[in-house]
């Protein structure tokens, strides 16, 4: 006869029992362990009504190659009733390279829109008053410059700063670990993030100046607990940068938001949900007990969720739609505020419109046809779910302590410790999949001899590069060169003296200094990051 003590090791290494009983939750107290939704410690959710009050936001990430294309797409979306725009920027823009930089030529306009100067931003939002929309920018090392351009565009439209709404990702530390769009070394990059947070706090209160991400590091091999622990340590780093400028925790904590994992290559339905519930509870405790926040709104872990391409298989790509649906289910059961789902054709190229729409439909079916949003935190009180939630809370704390005992997250990134650790983990997962120890349907089980339909893929307009360079040259020819030089000199001085760079960035973008020129000046002051490349 089987007993509850019989353990099974899951694909993530977490061991689970055959079944769970009240004995698995000794000392469980509803009030202190969970609390009602909207009550400390917020295990069940940060708002009292959750999806009844407001359904999650459905937003898919997409990019268009030029500011004109993006402008017409935005106008179409607004006519359709969408109010939130999510903007993908091309890699040169994310790395501070102008479109005519030799390193940029194969990437201009490819993964999103190219922005060389303020003119591109102005044209992108031509006829779209910025006080009527909310714009989300996926940008990190050049986030402060993009923000300056957005503010300047609003000014030119006659929209005051207080009315601007939107988000910049602006989370540099995970770029060194996983996403790779770093420019400057960590310390000055953190200072730039401090500049943007403080500037937004003082001038654009409705703008989210940082979104700390745990999803990208999962692509690079992070475990569930690490995918929370590292973003928490990162957030604390940014908080400390702001605190040392004379602000209090209750100023900064309510401004932070997170983007956390639900889905991906290591997806486990109940573990993903428990991990996020644990994260909500632990963050409330950290901000209250460790950082000394007094206001309730400081304690809320505001997060959206996402998963990226690595869970999507190349084999039998339509199977991925089922995976996407389970990811979305986990996100809903965990009370995520917004889901960013991958697309079924991720292994083939940049997702097509059909694939993007399908991922959106998955969310809509979940929201409107399944009843999943009818009651808050429906898994609460399950012996298994609460035991797993307790387990992940301890694991997240353990992972945080490990990094702190090694000198903290910045040191562990600078010396490559985290990158090496995640690579080892990613390699092990990949080997287990290839040995068939982790089952992937269509990959190592239930395979077919495929020579199946060719997938339609997104194709780049070959004219984009020359058009963009031509625009850049036109702007360079028409601007006041001495003004550009003066603004860049002022920026350099401010950066050297460690003053807040935002006002100087604003002046520089308004003079039509290019992205490359501005980043060039900052590189002179800050230097460039070195890439730890050990295997």
């Amino acid at each position: 006869m089987k007993t509850d003590a019989e353990l099974k090791e899951t694909d993530t290494g977490v061991k689970v029992k055959l079944y769970y009983t009240p004995e698995d939750l000794p000392g469980f107290d509803y009030g202190t362990s969970l609390g009602n939704p909207g009550e400390y410690p917020y295990t069940r959710g940060i708002y009292p009504t959750m999806y009844r009050g407001k359904l999650w936001t459905m937003r898919q990430y997409s990019g268009f190659s030029t500011s004109e294309n993006t402008n017409s797409r935005f106008k179409f979306l607004l006519e359709q009733g969408q109010t939130g725009l999510s903007l993908a920027l091309d890699l040169p823009t994310q790395l501070g390279l102008d479109s005519d930089d030799p390193l940029a030529k194969d990437d201009v306009g490819r993964l999103g829109v190219a922005i060389d100067t303020l003119r591109d931003m102005e044209e992108m939002f031509d006829g779209i008053p910025l006080d009527t929309i909310s714009t989300s920018f996926t940008v990190n090392s050049t986030a402060s410059i993009i923000l300056a351009m957005y503010v300047a565009t609003g000014e030119k439209q006659g929209v005051s700063k207080e009315k601007l709404r939107g988000t910049i990702q602006n989370d540099i530390l995970k770029e060194y670990i996983a996403r790779g769009t770093w420019i400057f070394p960590p310390q000055p990059s953190i200072r730039l993030i401090g500049d943007t947070i403080v500037y937004c706090m003082e001038n654009i209160p409705r703008f989210n100046s940082v979104s700390v991400s745990g999803t990208h590091i999962c692509e690079a091999g992070a475990t569930h607990a690490q995918s929370i622990a590292y973003p928490f340590l990162t957030a604390i780093t940014y908080i400390n940068e702001v605190l040392k400028r004379g602000y209090r925790i209750d100023h900064i904590a309510p401004l932070l938001s997170f983007h956390l994992i639900a889905g991906g290559i290591q997806f486990q339905l109940f573990q993903d949900v428990a991990n996020l519930r644990a994260a909500r509870r632990l963050w409330a405790k950290i901000v209250k007990e460790r950082l000394g926040a007094e206001e309730e709104k400081s304690l809320l872990l505001r997060f959206s969720t996402g998963a990226m391409g690595s869970g999507m298989t190349e084999q039998q790509p339509l199977n991925n739609i089922a995976r996407i649906a389970y990811y979305a289910l986990a996100a809903a059961l965990a009370g995520s505020r917004s889901f960013n789902l991958p697309c079924f054709d991720e292994a083939y190229g940049i997702p097509t419109e059909e694939a993007v729409r399908t991922s959106l439909r998955v969310q809509q079916i979940l929201a409107h046809e399944t009843g999943v949003a009818d009651t808050v935190d429906p898994l609460a009180g399950s012996y298994y779910m609460e035991d797993l939630t307790n387990y992940f809370e301890k694991e997240i704390e353990r992972e945080m302590e490990e990094i702190e005992s090694r000198g903290g997250i910045v040191a562990c990134i600078e010396n490559g410790y985290i990158q090496g650790k995640l690579l080892g983990q990613a390699y092990e997962v990949e080997r287990k999949i290839q040995r068939g120890e982790i089952v992937k349907v269509g990959v190592n089980r239930f395979t077919v001899d495929e020579e199946q339909r060719e997938m339609e893929v997104f194709a780049l307009d070959p004219e984009v590069l020359s058009q963009q360079i031509e625009r850049l040259n036109r702007i360079k020819a028409s601007r006041d060169k001495s003004k550009v030089t003066a603004c860049l000199n002022d920026l350099k001085k401010a950066a050297t003296e460690e003053r807040n760079t935002m006002p100087y960035l604003l002046d520089a973008v308004k003079a039509y200094a290019t992205m490359g020129e501005i980043v060039g000046v900052l590189k002179e002051v800050y230097g460039e990051a070195e890439q730890p490349v050990s295997i």
Binding site: L97, T181, Y348, Y427, V448, V533
Partner: protein, 150 residues
């Protein structure tokens, strides 16, 4: 039909002669390097000498490193969709400079149809997402041994 069991070539150490030397690089600006690093690790475990030069490499820096390190193979990892222009440029430069005997392979995210396009350009092998370590190792060994360099 279930897939045949894998050979686990990456767990053997078979290279008794001079090991295969391979340079792995990420050309272009895309920063997603897990695939490149995981494959590099697998090749290393299979006894190859792997030189990983990392992100944001130009075709010139890749060629210079390949010549300096005297490699048999250049492996490019490209996920951004820019594989065709990058490969065309690299192979073009190799042709102009008369570099022979170095094979170029590509891994990453791309449509099936582009495998033919890349091979027509002169890329020796293409490993799309879903390729196993065994497939990659076996193909690289055949490529180098078949070319009579060992």
């Amino acid at each position: 039909m279930e897939k045949q069991s894998n050979l686990f070539l990456y767990e053997e150490v078979v290279d008794k002669e001079r090991p295969i030397r391979i340079l792995i690089a990420k050309p272009g600006l895309d920063g997603h390097d897990k695939g490149a690093k995981v494959v590099a690790k697998a090749l290393k475990d299979a006894g190859m000498e792997v030189i990983y030069i990392g992100l944001r490499q130009s075709t010139d820096s890749i060629l210079n490193a390949a010549l300096e390190e005297n490699v048999d193979i250049i492996g490019l990892s490209i996920l951004s969709g820019s594989h065709v222009p990058i490969c065309r440029e690299l192979l073009g430069k190799m042709g102009q400079q008369g570099i022979e005997g170095i094979k170029v392979v590509v891994g990453g995210v791309m449509p099936r149809a582009d495998v033919r396009v890349l091979k027509d350009l002169g890329i020796s092998e293409v490993f799309r997402g879903g390729s196993s370590f065994d497939d990659i190792i076996q193909a690289l060994r055949e490529m180098v041994r078949g070319a009579g360099r060992h």
